[in-house]
């Protein structure tokens, strides 16, 4: 089964947040957990990116691609980027994969590839 990353849709006004926040930024609704989890779309356009060389110690690679992507539904997210020749505005598709290992801990997140 494909893994998902979830956004949070306010039950009162429908505004969708990513990442999670406890009070709706749009309507101020503050009944705790009054949000529906909705999977983030996997397709979008590359808004901006970098290739970083000075990495935290958990990353045993010489460099790492990072990106902010505007997803199909207009929500933006940050993720890793595995594209050889990134261009702003290009179509990308995401996969939820292991993005960081901290000791025995495996953390999942979105990795973007050329669509």
């Amino acid at each position: 089964m494909a893994r998902e990353i979830y956004a949070y849709k306010c039950r009162k006004c429908g505004h969708t947040h990513y990442p999670y926040r406890m009070v709706c930024k749009s309507c101020g609704e503050n009944e705790h957990n009054e949000f529906d989890q909705v999977p983030l779309p996997k397709r979008g356009k590359l808004l901006t990116w970098t290739r970083a060389y000075s990495l935290p110690a958990d990353f045993e690679v010489p460099s790492l691609g990072l990106a902010i992507v505007e997803l199909e539904n207009g929500i933006r997210m940050t993720g890793q980027l595995r594209v050889d020749d990134p261009r702003m505005g290009m179509d990308v598709r995401g996969e939820v994969e292991i993005v960081r290992r901290e000791g025995y801990d495996e953390r999942y997140g979105m990795v973007f590839y050329e669509a």
Partner: protein, 391 residues
């Protein structure tokens, strides 16, 4: 509210310091007490970000107040990321303005070189959103890099403009004996020469080594006081006339217009409003150039130049010492260094020198109004201060 004045200042060299963190905080405080000619302090605020994580020491304010033999004065630490320094000054301002205290010492310190550069980058990266940014390996340089690419695309800022900021600020630092970097650089050396790619490699494309501030140890202190106290001190009067603070979304990708730094715009506007002044009144500014792009963008967001035109003012030389609005005569974070908790106080320290007229070789002629911008996170928590010479 009462008026608040700066009556004493002190600073350490920003470099690698071999003495303990509490002493890095205390040494500039001793200098500031000498500068003010006064040892009576009602309250102490200590600005610091990493003592618990990097130096394995908590309760820093209790250590500092005791090593200065200022007990039983009250003391606490203020942590607001890289904006801790100006946040502590703001807190000191409120304590004096409200009448709760007459004399408040605000000292900031960081000892980051206890760990290597990668660990320091990792420590600062803990500022990012834990689930939406940090897990991916996002660091402050990579957030700045992604922001820079958008700015280049939208406004025509180039790597050459970034290098111009680096050269200006690092060469200003040569006039500041306390600055971390004491090495003259040129556009030729860091951008144009065949060796440039080796001298100046990418840290996070399109940002290069010389676009990023160094990791420094250091401390800085200001003493704030009421007008009644300030009038008894034999130093030119410098008034803290405006304090402004604003926040923005934790995750950078959530900002509606990704090339805006709204917290900078709002914090500056509040600071100017309280001071009853406008950006055009400012004679000298210290802006938070942790990355070269930030000096350009902040110079727009605080209102010195129209949005998207900061790099043009830079090209015209307006932001050089001797220009119409000198920015970062001290060398900025880029040249002076960036011991995170001390930075906002070091900015204020420089402005006080400038307004007193004793900044030496880097003096901005006849400076009457000075401004600082201390930038926390990647622009999610910003504090701006406005200072005025005399009353």
């Amino acid at each position: 509210m009462r008026s608040v004045y700066v009556i004493g200042i002190g600073i350490t060299s920003f470099t690698r310091l071999e003495y303990p963190l509490s002493e890095i905080a205390a040494y500039p405080a001793m200098m500031a007490m000498k500068d003010a000619g006064r040892k009576e302090i009602d309250h102490l605020y200590v600005a610091n970000m990493g003592s618990g994580r990097v130096n394995h020491q908590t309760g820093l304010a209790s250590a500092v107040v005791d090593t200065l033999s200022l007990t039983p004065a009250g003391a606490e630490a203020i942590e607001n990321g890289p904006a801790s320094g100006a946040s502590a000054i703001k807190t000191g301002y409120m304590a004096v303005a409200s009448g709760v205290h007459d004399v408040v010492m605000v000292t900031g310190a960081e000892r980051m070189r206890e760990v290597n550069n990668l660990e320091a980058t990792e420590f600062v990266a803990t500022l990012t959103h834990p689930l939406a940014e940090y897990i991916y390996g996002v660091t402050l340089p990579s957030l700045a890099a992604m922001f820079t690419r958008l700015y280049m695309e939208k406004y025509g800022v180039t790597e050459r403009h970034l290098a111009m900021v680096a050269v200006k600020n690092q060469n200003n630092a040569l006039k500041n004996e306390f600055a971390h970097l004491q090495q003259e650089i040129s556009i030729e050396g860091i951008l144009d020469s065949p060796e440039a790619m080796t001298n100046n490699p990418y840290v996070a494309e399109p940002l290069r080594f010389f676009d990023c501030c160094p990791v420094s140890d250091g401390g800085a202190c200001v003493i704030l006081a009421s007008e009644e106290v300030a009038r008894k001190v034999e130093r030119p009067l410098v008034r803290l006339a405006g304090v402004g603070q604003a926040t923005d979304t934790h995750a950078v990708h959530e900002r509606e217009e990704p090339t805006d730094l709204l917290a900078v715009r709002r914090a500056a506007a509040k600071s100017f409003e309280m001071a009853g002044l406008a950006p055009s009144d400012v004679d000298v500014a210290e802006l938070h150039d942790a990355f070269t792009i930030l000096e350009i963008v902040e110079s727009e967001e605080v209102g010195f130049f129209p949005k998207g035109e900061g790099h043009l003012a830079l090209e015209r030389g307006e932001t050089a010492i001797g220009g119409t609005l000198p920015i970062n005569p001290s060398g900025g974070l880029k040249g002076r260094g960036h011991p995170v908790g001390a930075t906002g106080i070091a900015q204020a320290h420089e402005i006080v020198h400038q307004l007193r007229g004793d900044a030496g070789e880097r003096q901005v002629k006849d400076a009457k109004v000075g401004f600082t911008c201390n930038f926390g996170g990647f622009g999610n928590n910003v504090v701006c201060l406005t200072f005025v010479r005399g009353n």
